[in-house]
Symmetry: C2
Amino acid sequence: MEKFDVTILGCGSATPSPKHFTSSQIVNVREKLFMIDCGDGTQIQIRRARQAFARINHILISHLHGDHCFGLLGIISSFGLLGRTAPLFVHAPQEMWKILEQELQFYCRDLEFSVEFQGFDPSRIQTIYDDRSLCIETIPLKHRVPCAGFLFREKPTPDHLNREMADFYGVPMWDYNRIKSGGDFTMPDGTVIPHSRLTTPSDPVRSYAYCCDTAFNPSMAGQIHGASLVYHDCTYSNEDEDRAKLHHHSTAGQAAAIARDAAAGQLMLGHFSARYDDESVLLQQARETFPNSILAKEGLTISL
Amino acid sequence: MEKFDVTILGCGSATPSPKHFTSSQIVNVREKLFMIDCGDGTQIQIRRARQAFARINHILISHLHGDHCFGLLGIISSFGLLGRTAPLFVHAPQEMWKILEQELQFYCRDLEFSVEFQGFDPSRIQTIYDDRSLCIETIPLKHRVPCAGFLFREKPTPDHLNREMADFYGVPMWDYNRIKSGGDFTMPDGTVIPHSRLTTPSDPVRSYAYCCDTAFNPSMAGQIHGASLVYHDCTYSNEDEDRAKLHHHSTAGQAAAIARDAAAGQLMLGHFSARYDDESVLLQQARETFPNSILAKEGLTISL
């Protein structure tokens, strides 16, 4: 299977703490690296995780709270010091350009690469990245400020041709692509050889939904339906549901309910409040509703 | 002796590395906390060093390179999240206000404390802080952008009165302060009792000179003459003197020459380039010229 990994750089909330760095992750799809969010201190974590820092070409920012974006300028600056020439794409709420443009002009005047800002409207589903094998959509979330998550969807690949069978039935080479894409083969005598006899299925498509920061938002379950992995805001325990509502975050139980309703493969809980010494409480609560839940932690890599 | 400590939070250069955080330190003079510089990730280091984060009232920024100031916004924001109400004084090159003001308006609209920006001109010696026991001056440095170091000077305190001698000679209480400040006492019969017989000396004044970032700058030795501790740019080894000149930094030998010419008490080397796996080379080179040299490292606290 082609690589589709998520590496956690930071899964704390609000401010760095002795236990957690602030929000950041790297998604590696077939060696294309995407950074999601970058709080203060993210570049320290990139080095520790031995991630190929220089190969990050896209940085996605979910919303404009400091614990998700204060590390961006440092990363851009460090890229400059390391002699980067390839453009860096920053996908963020459109509003961010107002301040980022000024900061770049002030602090990063001599970059040898361009910072291509691609703003989006967090309140709408938008495709912000699209290539032959992958597309990325925003997921409108419910937070105190406009906020979007990100849905990484692999694109289906053609089925694998069974060469022996294809040769046995005399399928001409120029017809392979059509067969692989789902077509049957009609022999000269009219016999129809079904697609399923001539091919083996391609790998199932995988998807990853990053859903942070958000209050309980049941309406998004449809968009992320069937996601192989969901990373969800789990700032609070179930007992602190009032606090979660007040601060527009989610509880463990709510995160699990989203994963269940979305028929997700696996749920990773993150964005932990510093108030919990032992996050296993959150895990237990999530597992009551969605058994295949895990806790994020710094340095963890999940392969979808 | 009253407390006068320097704690190193970061002593690397340019970008965070596996070995070092970027420039930051906390100076504690009689429980008044001053932060000098704050690169990306500084607030992580504050927590690790168990520094009383909330009691930092003054942040001093030497110059506007990212590895010295990109952590500032995160720190201000975290102070806000922690419910700070006391004003925070930021002393920095005047030019910084242009961008900092915008960043505060964009990211930190709801702070319950004021950020009091006190700009200075890095090319001139200026007193940027002055109270009964301490004053802080800027030290014009030689760098690629306007840059100032900081000289923390304790103010002399009066000598200690020897009560037994004072009583023996019948010194009236209302005259104590004059005696402690250096005066002699004239007895009724005209005998002059010298100050030195009536007092014990107060603690010698101490001073700390932060000299980063800078190329070799012999002219500053006069201003920092007699400093108890000098922290000096030691980005490069002696073999890399050309590179030091090119990038407006100093070598180990140059840092030591400054400490020697300034008749400093002790030299702490910092701002290490990531190119040296083993910084003891730098230490040896410095010690050839100034034996009482040490290497800075994250978490180190020196008591003057």
